[in-house]
Symmetry: C2
């Protein structure tokens, strides 16, 4: 059997991403030993029963002890306090990474707690489903998806290289960029779409002229596509919006300006303007499909 | 062979819906003879070659001559003028229907041109894809989808019954409701989602901080779901928004209020409010999935 990439990997958080990483590591023999921590006893037991971790610990400090890689698979809002707690227990030479959808805030909250001699390589696997919890994970979640790494300016290139290998072994394609650029890219490709989806589903639910029953019944006309992403984990997304506030509000401002201009065209029955706007968005879809075919 | 439901059916417009209806009628032997009209000679030739119509005509008046059922499969903006043109050529006892996503405006534009002794039964099959044109149709498009009929108050119940049978034979489930109610239901379940999707794809395309290349590359984070519906036919959607202006602007107003309130919660980092909003939209997704499983 080939050598595992890491001797001991600790998963802090055993939800969709944590459990999927456990499965992916087992699939590709990436870690010789996987420890896990979750706050809930039920979650820890379930994880052990499913077997995507080899051992679970009630105290996260026990889980990270002697680990070569520690992965924070928790909502971005608590990454900082977790780093603070585990900091004294991290092994020299270990790598700490996270899977948060926001990077500037996570770096700001975590980096200062990482001891010298330990390497922090922030990461964001762009993969997910509408399901959560330890039973929702599967080994293929990251296959052919992007994982964005945002190494610190003074970070260790070897640690970044090792995390690149790690994510590739989990099935993902890896790119590196700055945390700042990541947050703008994520704001437009992921955070704003989620905000809009959460919002429109809420608006529909509140209409008094149309029964919820009808919304559900006739959802296939377009609405259905929004409900999938609006069913994503509320805690995760609450943290994303708060911690990527500036980039999200910036792209939301653009979105609102464009929407006001479309509304004006509708009000004025400006068919030319509407047509022009609807026509120009088609090529983006085509390019996405072309991209997927190439993979 | 069982008797066909209609002797002769005329399809005015041979795009996605017209061609799919042709295929669906052939599949279930719904019509003994199917004629077709499209403005473009190329489209007419393609339709004939594919074979989802038995004959094509350059003049729509020839296509509808002697037809028992005439189906307008064209953008809603031109339904009225088509009715005006074909009116003198309609057979006594014939049924005229349409497939438009807007009903009040179509009824207003068409009903006055329908001669006495001819039955107008407005309809809206809630089915579509992002593709258009005579090659995009397929017999299964309407299978298990809803077709909403909005019979006129003084309409012939027998004609409505026959159109119900027609759509069921095409694979669809049929409901009837008033044109007014239809337009509000469609505004929230279909028109607003499309407007939002067209808009966000446009916003993304305009950002100067993120290259279009990156938007396409990282679309899987949520954005991709929007691009599918934003690739729908621009002419059709231009007409939908103009002709369902009031209902669309009404639900858009609600959407904007809700979005402003979410933006405020982000600005104020009001995690409680964000969580509450994101949590309440999950059950709608669950209900949609339960509904689909029952079908």
């Amino acid at each position: 059997m080939a050598d595992a990439l890491f001797e001991k990997v600790a998963l802090i958080g055993l939800g969709l991403i944590g459990s999927s990483l456990g499965h992916a590591m087992k699939r590709a023999n990436i870690a010789r030993h996987i420890t896990g921590h979750a706050r809930s006893k039920q979650t820890r037991q379930t994880a052990l029963e499913i077997g995507f971790v080899d051992a679970v610990f009630e105290n996260m400090t026990d889980a990270v002890s002697d680990a070569d890689l520690v992965i924070l698979c928790v909502p971005v809002g608590i990454c900082g306090s977790i780093c603070e707690q585990i900091s004294p227990h991290l092994k020299q030479g270990a790598i700490v990474t996270d899977v948060g959808s926001v990077k500037v805030a996570v770096v700001a909250a975590c980096a200062r707690h990482i001891p010298s001699g330990v390497h922090f390589v922030p990461g964001h696997p762009m993969a997910g489903t509408e399901f959560s919890g330890p039973t929702s994970g599967f080994a293929e979640l990251f296959d052919n998806r992007w994982c964005l790494l945002t190494p610190l300016l003074d970070g260790d290139p070897q640690a970044t290289k090792k995390m690149t290998e790690y994510w590739q072994a989990c099935g993902a394609n890896v790119e590196t960029m700055t945390a700042q650029h990541h947050d703008v890219v994520a704001a437009i490709t992921s955070h704003l779409p989620h905000l809009i989806a959460f919002n429109i589903v809420g608006t529909a639910d509140d209409l008094e002229d149309v029964a919820e029953r009808e919304i559900i019944k006739y959802a296939a006309g377009g609405f259905r596509d929004f409900t999938r992403i609006a069913a994503s984990d509320p805690t995760m997304w609450r943290d994303v919006f708060i911690h990527n506030k500036e980039a999200v509000l910036e792209v939301l401002g653009r979105f609102n300006e464009d929407l006001a201009s479309l509304a004006k065209a509708i009000k004025e029955e400006d068919g030319y303007k509407l047509y022009e706007q609807f026509e120009r968005t088609r090529h983006i879809r085509q390019n996405i499909l072309d991209d997927e075919r190439k993979k």
